[in-house]
């Protein structure tokens, strides 16, 4: 393998210039021939990260791949940059979201059953718009209600690699 630039710098540049997280496969696909192996890419990423000790950013592995992120501790300054930042979500929103995340695939009826109140359709619409949840099918019950599930984008938003990284539910279940 030899490129006109070091492999790790190509990866660094690509991650910086990309709008989306890049998977190992995505990164390999940037090379026409002489593709680096996934192992080589992973090693290069590890090396980059270890060189970022004196930098304000790092490469983070989230559900849909690797992305460049500003390290923690800079929010005081950076939150002033983008006005649309730091959204607060209502309790209803968060409760609906966790039920979908932990019980997926679920119908609106399931959510209503747990929360004891009807689901605000606007909340579901917003979540679909954020691409945090999607309709993954229809339940074979009367009315064929939609089955909702979370997406990779939801995990990305919370810096999670998979659903199993979510906090484990306290075991309150009674038999």
């Amino acid at each position: 393998m030899s490129y006109s630039k070091p492999l790790n710098l190509i990866i660094e540049g690509a991650l910086l210039a990309s709008e989306h997280p890049l998977s190992l496969q995505d990164i390999a696909n940037l090379f026409d021939n002489d593709k680096p192996s996934k192992n080589e890419i992973q090693k290069a990423i590890d090396m980059l990260n270890s060189n970022y000790a004196n930098h304000s950013f790092e490469i983070v592995n989230v559900a849909s791949g690797f992305r460049m992120q500003v390290k923690k501790g800079y929010d005081d300054w950076i939150s002033k940059l983008n006005k649309q930042s730091s959204t607060r979500y209502s309790k209803a929103f968060l409760e609906t979201l966790v039920i979908i995340a932990y019980k997926q695939p679920v119908t609106r009826g399931d959510i209503e059953e747990i929360r004891g109140v009807s689901v605000n359709p606007q909340i579901i619409r917003n979540m679909i718009e954020f691409e945090w949840i999607k309709v993954v099918g229809h339940k074979e019950t009367p009315g064929k209600p939609e089955l909702l599930a979370t997406t990779k984008k939801f995990l990305d938003y919370f810096n999670l690699k998979s659903l199993s990284d979510l906090p484990p539910p306290a075991d309150l279940e009674i038999s």
Binding site: L16, R67, M68, Q69, I78, S79
Partner: protein, 264 residues
């Protein structure tokens, strides 16, 4: 009403910018404050959990009588304050009443497995409690643009090749249908087909004004477009003026009329 003299730590209430930690002793809680208190609850289960916690009761062992009384008191109060009571709250009240009555009436038939009438409610409460806790935890997880920030796509000099995903007109039409269905944007006024070209002309005129600052009124019109074109343009100018998007100015009678941006 014992709801009023409870020291309440579960719910934070902001009223008139001040945080109310103790619910006022007297009953004359300003209605706005009460609304805030009630809006704190995400539903009947949430209210019930709050009442149970308030008395330091283990969920598994709900003393149904006092809880039911409190619950009913609470919704009575909501009613007195003329809040719209969600039917969910009433359903819960009747569920509690039912459980209460079943517990009060001694079960004459000896059941092999006597089922505690509270079991189902307890199960629901615990299930709800679980997700309520989880939602609080989810809120703590570092999330984008609050705790962590993605490096935004940085500039590259590289010629951007156009890989626009394809849409066909049909898809646009479907999207439009959908929007219409939801908002019925055009339902309130009658919109004829011409309106579109009027809108297009509005954009065109605005664009010119935006670039040049002004445009002569007569330059908005072209002979080639004929009578229809004149009407469309004229309507566009009127509409722009009506929506306060342009100023129509004439320095003296019979002199040249100009359209200019409102800024200048």
């Amino acid at each position: 009403m014992n709801i009023s003299n409870v020291n309440n730590n579960d719910v934070s209430i902001i009223f008139n910018g001040k945080k109310i930690t103790d619910i006022p002793e007297d009953l004359f809680i300003p209605p706005e404050a009460l609304r805030v208190i009630i809006e704190q609850f995400e539903g009947p289960l949430d209210l019930l959990l709050y009442l149970i916690k308030k008395q330091n009761i283990d969920v598994v062992d709900i003393p149904i009588l006092p809880i039911t009384n409190q619950y009913v008191e609470y919704i009575n109060m909501m009613q007195q304050m003329q809040f719209e009571l969600a039917s969910d709250y009433l359903v819960m009240a009747s569920t509690l009443a039912e459980i209460k009555s079943r517990m009060l009436v001694p079960n004459e038939v000896e059941d092999d497995e006597e089922e505690d009438p509270r079991a189902n409610l307890i199960k629901r409460l615990m299930e709800y409690q679980k997700y309520k806790d989880l939602s609080e935890q989810l809120d703590e997880i570092p999330r984008l643009n609050r705790d962590t920030f993605i490096v935004s796509k940085i500039f590259t000099n590289i010629e951007k090749k156009e890989y626009l995903p394809s849409i066909d007109l049909q898809e646009l039409e479907n999207a439009f249908q959908e929007v219409l269905k939801r908002a019925e944007i055009f339902a309130s006024h009658e919109i004829q087909t011409e309106t579109l070209s009027v809108r297009e002309r509005m954009s065109l005129i605005l664009d010119i004004i935006n670039k040049n600052g002004t445009i002569k009124f007569i330059d908005c019109f072209t002979y080639e477009e004929g009578r229809m074109g004149v009407i469309v343009t004229f309507l566009a100018i009127l509409e722009l003026s009506k929506e306060s998007l342009v100023d129509i100015v004439q320095n003296q009678d019979y002199s040249m009329i100009y359209l200019q941006s409102l800024k200048s």
